[in-house]
């Protein structure tokens, strides 16, 4: 192996406590090395120290943070290096792309200037020369000047475009190493796929080394040669992507693949930081330090189990448990042999905020008692607006919502029949209220009776009864979401609308909350409407799926059929964009996303199909005639001119990467 480009060894970072308490330890002896041209994925849940490792490498730790250990870049020690030297290296040697495209750019400077700034700094270019080079870099990341002028300001761009600008800024001075910190987390799935392709292509073309940071194992698996898994400030496992994915060794890595975890606090003692939550914890895990154990396939694992006593995870053996983030059907769908009584009927529902653009455009469907319908779509597709109209938080511009045959917007008594679970468990609970009062808020009952109902609801979602006396801040994200679910359950509603119920949670916690929602469906007569952008979530919970894009439902049908063989071009693009556990797929070009024509997420004018502007298969007719939703057999309905004949249950064919 060539000399590493970046070599981090025994890196520890502590952050002093502003209130005067003991310093917090953020990183605890991190070892990580990246060879020239190599791509390394850094995975872990939020707060595990991934970003801190990256910031330490680029010398931009937050004020009050102290680093010890060693960070070498091309042999040069960076820890303690003079600031002048670090300024020369940043951008030129090591560059970085950040997570939030909305805030990572200077809002009052044109994008061209922001890209040119690094060029002027590192190469001493004049204004005009730097501007010309910046234009070329922007074109390279898919923002050619003819389409997106370098004179535009960040707020005039879409999220995906802004992230491309962020990438252009990082790439401008042709760095030897690019660190990308969750570069796609804030983006929609289809945009995310394009972005990952772009990063993989450019790093391969330039021979640039890449550190890709993500909470999503699938994302790094596809794009990286090697994977390092972090937990609580420690790298617990690292090795070739194929080895780590094929046979995850450390119990935490396996947890990332969907194993159940105890939700214990992350207590820090002398031993393994993962011990309190580890399902395979042994006595010595609590006390003994963590030596690296080397497994035959070039992997290193920091776990006592891997050091001699039980070599259960040898290389070559394929991990056999169903791997969670891949949409497999965990008994999610129940056959809809007999559709029950219609609970909810939505008819030509339309919501216009800024004419003429309709956020929700003539949407119709029905939901039966006991059925779970998932509405899938990207951000801005109108799915949340639809949900808000169904629960009467928003007023339709036209069309009707009928719950139990009545209009929930005007009939206040209907409100107890429908409740909602919101996306952000930190925003959906009043921080000034105790949990008992929060959960009991929808109830209009005497005190004692209310307390009993609250206790029952808390028990139903798996929370202890004494939770009622505490404030929300005492709970983790997953527990808060359970509280929100308890509040939704307490009126014993007929319909629960869940808007992205798990997308704000860490992967391991997502699995638990999804399992809870799944279990709650068993109650007779209770229907769920789940809004999600994540097909993996949908696959686990839905009976029926509606795919929404630009305010319209373009495909609707039984979950099994829609997910297994999507028909509408958008559904296919969505399915193809879902990251899969396919190590190195993007690096060796095995995985190429069908790139829609324009990177911009804009709806076409209302005359034709709203998706026509982005559709790779669009024909002339699509631009003039809006497609109606028509049944295509197997209980499915599709709104697309290109899908005409009823499909006899098989794959429609003709689309690469269509199947889930």
């Amino acid at each position: 192996m060539a000399a590493p480009l970046l070599e981090i060894s025994d890196l520890s970072v502590t952050l002093e406590d502003r209130a005067g308490g003991a310093p917090r330890r953020l990183l605890d002896g991190v070892d990580l090395s990246v060879g020239p041209g190599e791509s390394v994925g850094l995975v872990g849940s939020s707060g595990c120290g991934k970003s801190m490792t990256a910031l330490a490498a680029i010398g931009l730790l937050p004020p009050g943070a102290r680093a010890t250990g060693s960070i070498r870049f091309a042999g040069e020690q960076l820890l303690g290096a003079p600031e002048r030297r670090l300024c020369q290296l940043r951008g030129r040697g090591i560059a970085m792309v950040f997570q939030e495209p909305m805030t990572a750019l200077n809002p009052i400077q044109p994008i061209g200037r922001q890209v040119a700034e690094g060029l002027r700094r590192h190469f001493g270019l004049g204004r005009a020369a730097a501007a010309a080079r910046a234009e070329a870099v922007l074109a390279r990341v898919g923002l050619p000047a003819v389409e997106v002028s370098p004179k535009r300001y960040p707020h005039q761009l879409s999220g995906g475009q802004r992230q491309r600008v962020g990438l252009a800024i990082a790439l401008a001075a042709r760095p030897a190493l690019l660190i990308a910190d969750e570069p796609t987390t804030a983006l929609d799935v289809t945009i995310q796929a394009q972005m990952l392709d772009l990063i993989a292509d450019i790093s391969a073309d330039d021979g640039m080394a890449l550190v890709l940071i993500s909470h999503d194992l699938r994302v790094v698996a596809e794009s990286c040669d090697r994977i390092a898994v972090m937990y609580a400030g420690v790298v617990v496992e690292q090795g070739p992507a194929a080895a780590v994915v094929g046979a995850p060794g450390h119990p935490y890595t396996r947890a990332l693949f969907g194993a159940r975890l105890a939700s214990a606090p992350e207590a820090r003692g002398a031993g393994c930081p993962f011990a309190p939550r580890c399902p395979e914890v042994m006595a010595r895990c609590w006390t003994a330090g963590l030596p690296w154990g080397v497994v035959a396939d070039g992997r290193e694992i920091r776990c006592h189990q891997k050091n001699g006593d039980r070599p259960r995870f040898s290389s070559g053996k394929t991990w056999s448990v169903a791997v969670f983030p891949v949409p497999v059907f965990l008994g999610g769908q129940r056959p809809l042999t007999s559709r029950g009584e219609t609970l909810l009927a939505v008819d030509s529902l339309t919501r216009v905020y800024r004419p003429p653009h309709a956020a929700v455009d003539t949407v119709s469907f029905t939901l039966s008692r006991g059925e779970t319908l998932a509405i899938v779509g990207e951000s801005g597709s109108g799915k949340s607006t639809l949900a808000r109209m169904i629960v009467a938080l928003d007023r339709p511009t036209s069309g009707r919502v009928r719950l139990l045959g009545r209009d929930p917007y005007h009939d206040r008594r209907l409100r107890r029949h429908v409740q909602m679970v919101f996306q952000d468990p930190y925003g959906s609970l009043d921080p000034r209220w105790r949990v008992g009062r929060i959960v009991g808020e929808p109830l209009d009952l005497p005190k004692a009776e209310r307390a009993a109902r609250v206790a029952a609801a808390l028990a139903e979602v798996g929370l202890p009864a004494d939770a009622a006396d505490r404030y929300p801040h005492a709970f983790s994200g997953g527990q808060r979401q359970r509280i929100a679910i308890a509040r939704a359950l307490i009126t014993r509603p007929d319909l629960i609308v869940a808007d992205e119920p798990v997308s704000a949670l860490d992967l391991t916690v997502q699995a638990q909350v999804l399992a809870l929602l799944s279990a709650l469906r068993a109650t007779a007569g209770r229907s769920f409407l789940v809004i999600s952008h994540d097909l993996a979530v949908v696959a686990q919970i839905a009976d029926t799926v509606a795919v929404m894009v630009h305010g319209r439902i373009v495909e609707y049908g039984p979950a099994q059929a829609v997910l297994a063989a999507p028909l509408h071009p958008y559904s296919r693009a969505l399915a193809a964009a879902v990251p899969r556990l396919d190590p190195g797929a993007r690096r060796c070009g095995r995985r190429v996303t069908a790139t829609p024509r324009s990177a911009d997420r804009t709806a076409s004018d209302a005359a034709g199909c709203r998706y026509a502007g982005r559709c790779p298969d669009a024909v002339a007719r699509c631009r003039f005639e809006p497609p109606a939703r028509r049944p295509v057999g197997d209980g499915r309905e599709v709104a697309c001119h290109l899908v005409d004949a009823p499909v006899p249950g098989g794959s429609p064919g003709g689309s690469p990467g269509g199947s889930l």
């Binding site: 700034e117 700094r121 707020h155 001075a173």
Partner: protein, 322 residues
Amino acid sequence: MPAFLVRRLAGLIATLLGATVVVFVVLEILPGDPALVMLGVTADDATLAALRTEMGLDRPAVVRYLDWVAGLVTGDLGTSQTYGVPVAGLVGERIAVSLPLALIALTLAAALGIPLGVVAAANHGRPADAAVIGAAQIGVAMPNFWLAILLILLFAVELRWVPAGGFAGWEAGAGEALRSLALPAVALALPQAAILARVTRAAVLDQFGHDHIRTARAKGLSRTAALIGHAVPNALIPVVTILGLQFSFLIAGTIIIENVFYLPGLGRLVVQAIAQRDLIVLKTLVVLLAGAVVVVSFLVDLAYAGLDPRVRLAAAAPGGAA
């Protein structure tokens, strides 16, 4: 003219008209008989009647109001009861003192407060920062008229560098006139500079927390370059808003500071007009000062659009070309 400018201009005119209505109602309708207010209960009936006729109080209120507003536009504002000269001339004479005073003070406050705020933020947590914070705390807490008195004690009474009060007049030469405005301007400016320093410091520190500063640093910019190139321009946006608000404090400030220094400006005229119950002068003065505040906040809005492309482009969009 862009549509947003038209809208803002219409708003400005509406606010100005509203101000005239309020002032008219408060000063001419609420007191009942303005002539009685002006002359006092000891005045004899003949004098009262004469003044009523002169003020046109026998006409309906609406007519009087319209007449006055027309006068505000044309400059025919009637004759001062106490000074016996046309109000327009009186006001013009006094503006020649107040306007330069307010502008000098504003410039001084900005030139002192903004750089100090930036320096404090750049040295966050270090002695320079603590010194600026401490000085600003004291500056904000000191009433400007007390500061003025202390300045007089030091520079006029002890050191005898400048006059303790009064105004040499512009005809005595710009240097002499500015000398008599020096202490008043400093007394007005220091508390405002303290506020500006605090606001600027907070705004720059807030920018340091933003992701785009990290992006700039990751490009290879030094801390100072990121500060000057990215943090300060963004931080100036809220600072400009404060600067606009400060003008209204300065207007209020001139009322009191001119009285401390016996400067013949609008502020002193206001207090004299109250003492002499000269409602004719007073209503015009109040409208003028309130109008100045409104106009400045309008100008600040325009400056805001110039500084922030988000405002500029969002505002321009409905007008057509984006």
